[in-house]
């Protein structure tokens, strides 16, 4: 059982979550996040003063999937969230020790 954290572009969130839904995964969580990578920078001028943004808005998708589905999730996200420009985002995969459904107190992914 793995937790897959995907940081993606804001405008790609609908496309990516729709594609993940088609994979028949149990569910996902989306949050608005800010951050920066290595090269993407944005400069604006506010009332005549240059302002370099350090943090850019991104969306983060948290998906929990059984081990044999991880490759599918990664493939789908890299296919749908990619533009080829710098700033497309990252994917992190990590192991989960335990998981429970609150309503049923059941363990496991489903």
């Amino acid at each position: 059982m793995k937790l897959i954290k995907c940081v993606v572009r804001e405008e790609k969130i609908d496309e990516t979550t729709d594609a993940l839904r088609a994979l028949d995964i149990s569910g996902l969580t989306v949050s608005r996040v800010c951050g920066h990578g290595t090269c993407e920078r944005q400069t604006v001028v506010y009332r005549g003063v240059r302002l370099e943004s350090r943090l850019l808005p991104k969306m983060m998708i948290d998906v929990v999937a059984p081990d044999d589905q991880v490759d599918d999730v990664v493939r789908v996200v890299t296919e749908t969230a990619r533009t080829g420009e710098a700033g497309d985002g990252r994917i992190f995969v990590m192991t989960i020790d335990e998981a429970y459904t609150i309503r049923t107190r059941q363990g496991g992914v489903a």
């Binding site: 608005r32 302002l51 808005p57």
Partner: protein, 560 residues
């Protein structure tokens, strides 16, 4: 990429500024000789000739000049009696001078204050439209609303007012404001066939006049209303400089030309005298002159721009982009309702015209009837009332009652409001699903369709209790009755209905076609639309470098 975009913006900006300067230069060259002396200080405004009783009978009796008139003897006697009385009681004549002055002053105060109410509607429009768009475009939208006021106002000052009202004294002098006698020449046309006013450019010479400037203030905020309407249809995708061209176009040409035909004493208002069609084309406060012009201009621009990215999926099915702040939408609607209390009653241009009480209540009744209809209809169609459609329903009722508000009774107002509430709901669905015109705030449906309907409704429901002698028709008797005013189909005047139907349709076609042709050409020279990347990101930062809501966390970092 971003640098390219900046260069493009500044080049278009220079283009717009030079264009504006060229227009100003041409207008200075236009003839500006004033035969009638303007009165900038307002000290000659209002004397005994303006002292009038409740029935409109003047204190001063004019000397009859037409000896062939069968009533000449009676008129001459009345004049002689008045002269004798005036010689005996000189103090009464002086008092009448004061009464006339106070009468005009009352009307000036009324017209200015109702104009200020209409001005405040701009805040309502800004909140309404801003609430209805997506968060990522909120700052851009507010800037559009703000700049619309600024640039359209300047265009109206340069030539819009002169085109619209430059000949108003010939056929449609606003008696309550002293008659603005200096605005007395058509640029195109003459007599009862005027097409474009020709005096008062830059509000100088004949336009620099106290009475006339009251009219200017009241009318410029009406023009701004038409200018704001288009924001609701073109937002979330138009670039700023393209938008400024749209506003200058509305303020300098589109609105004033049609306004001249109907309100400036132009040919449409005179069709009653010239062609025997009712009281001429009548639009009391601007269902067609303001709202349908704005609404169909908005429609043409929305067609030229095309739908927002992602509005229609690949099968052509519409997607919803939900309103980002429904609190703004409802607040804005209430501000608009409040402002409309200036829009309609103020259009008498006279507090001494006591029909204003009926007008105010008619306006409110149509508003609540429209809102109730939209709420209930949506409930039956989709299972739940929609708040933003309820607001659109209220505005639809207001737009539709704007033309007939002075000529109908309360019951007719409720019926007009109900029909407008139905039209706006079906219009929104029709635009979105059938025409596939992307109209984010429903401006085409609210202002275009309901504006057209309002002008037609006047031709149906007008009950003849008000407007005797309107546009110079039937001052003595009309339809065989003394004091019969503007009358609609249900009360026996078919010609008025036919003219309203034709005139409102002409208005829609004029506004759509004129805008479409002009901006199709402009768009081919220089695209009106922002880049695809900017539209996806949201227009706030690419166009203006700041977000509407930086505190929500997804901002460029705070002070460096």
């Amino acid at each position: 990429m971003r640098d390219n975009y900046q260069t493009r913006v500044s080049r278009t900006g220079r283009f717009a500024v030079w264009g504006l300067l060229a227009v100003m230069f041409l207008c200075v060259l236009a003839p500006a000789a004033a035969a009638q002396q303007a009165d900038p200080a307002g000290i000659a405004l209002g004397d005994k000739s303006n002292a009038v009783d409740a029935g409109g009978n003047a204190f001063v009796v004019a000397e009859p000049t037409d000896k062939a008139d069968p009533d000449y003897a009676a008129k001459k006697k009345a004049f002689d009696d008045y002269q004798a009385q005036a010689a005996k009681e000189p103090l009464a004549v002086k008092l009448a001078d004061s009464v006339g002055h106070v009468r005009i002053a009352t009307n000036v105060g009324w017209t200015l204050n109702t104009g200020y109410l209409v001005l405040f509607m701009q805040a309502g429009f800004a909140l309404l439209t801003c609430g209805l768009v997506r968060k990522k475009n909120a700052a851009h939208l507010m800037m559009l609303n703000f700049a619309a006021y600024v640039f359209a106002f300047l265009a109206y000052y340069v030539c819009g007012y002169a085109f619209q009202f430059g000949a108003v004294a010939i056929n449609a002098a606003p008696a309550g404001l002293g008659g603005t006698p200096t605005l007395n020449q058509f640029l195109i046309g003459s007599g009862q066939w005027g097409f474009l006013g020709g005096k008062g450019f830059f509000l100088s010479g004949p336009g620099y006049d106290a009475g006339s400037n009251v009219l200017t203030l009241f009318q410029v905020v009406f023009m701004e209303t038409a200018g704001y309407i288009i924001v609701g249809s073109i937002c979330e995708r138009i670039n700023f400089w393209g938008f400024l061209l749209c506003e200058i176009f509305v303020g300098a040409l589109l609105y004033p030309i049609f306004g001249c035909w109907v309100w400036g004493g132009g040919w449409m208002s005179q069709l009653g005298s010239t062609m025997g069609m009712g009281h001429g084309y009548v639009d009391f406060a601007g269902s067609s002159v303001v709202h349908a012009v704005g609404g169909f201009c908005a429609m043409a621009l929305a067609v030229v721009l095309g739908p927002r990215l992602g509005k229609y999926d690949k099968d052509g099915k519409p997607r919803a982009f939900p309103a980002h702040n429904i609190v703004f939408v409802v607040t804005g609607t209430f501000i608009l309702l409040f402002g409309w209390m200036g829009f309609n009653p103020g259009s008498t241009l006279a507090a001494t015209d006591l029909r204003i009480g009926v007008i105010a209540i008619n306006t409110n009744l149509a508003a609540v009837a429209g809102a109730a209809t939209a709420i209930v209809l949506w409930y039956f169609m989709f299972g739940k009332p929609d708040i933003s459609m309820g607001c659109n329903g209220m505005l639809a009722g207001l737009v539709a009652i704007t033309a007939p508000c002075a000529f109908v009774g309360p019951n007719a107002s409720v019926i007009i409001g109900i029909i407008a509430g139905v039209i706006v709901c079906l219009g929104v669905l029709f635009n979105e699903r059938v025409l596939k015109v992307d109209d984010p705030c429903g401006a085409v449906s609210v202002h275009g369709y309901c504006g057209w309907f309002g002008a037609v409704a006047l031709g149906i429901f007008a009950d003849g209790t008000y407007g005797a002698g309107w546009n110079g028709v039937g001052a003595a008797t009309y339809l065989g009755k003394a004091g019969q005013g503007v009358t609609g189909l249900l009360h026996g005047d078919t010609s008025q209905f036919m003219l309203q139907l034709g005139g409102a349709t002409l208005c829609a076609v004029y506004a759509f076609a004129f805008t479409f042709v002009v901006f199709k050409i402009v768009n081919a020279i220089r695209p009106l639309r922002v880049s695809k990347e900017a539209e996806i990101e949201g227009l706030d930062v690419p166009e203006f470098g700041m977000l509407a809501y930086p505190e929500t966390g997804d901002e460029v970092s705070a002070a460096v």
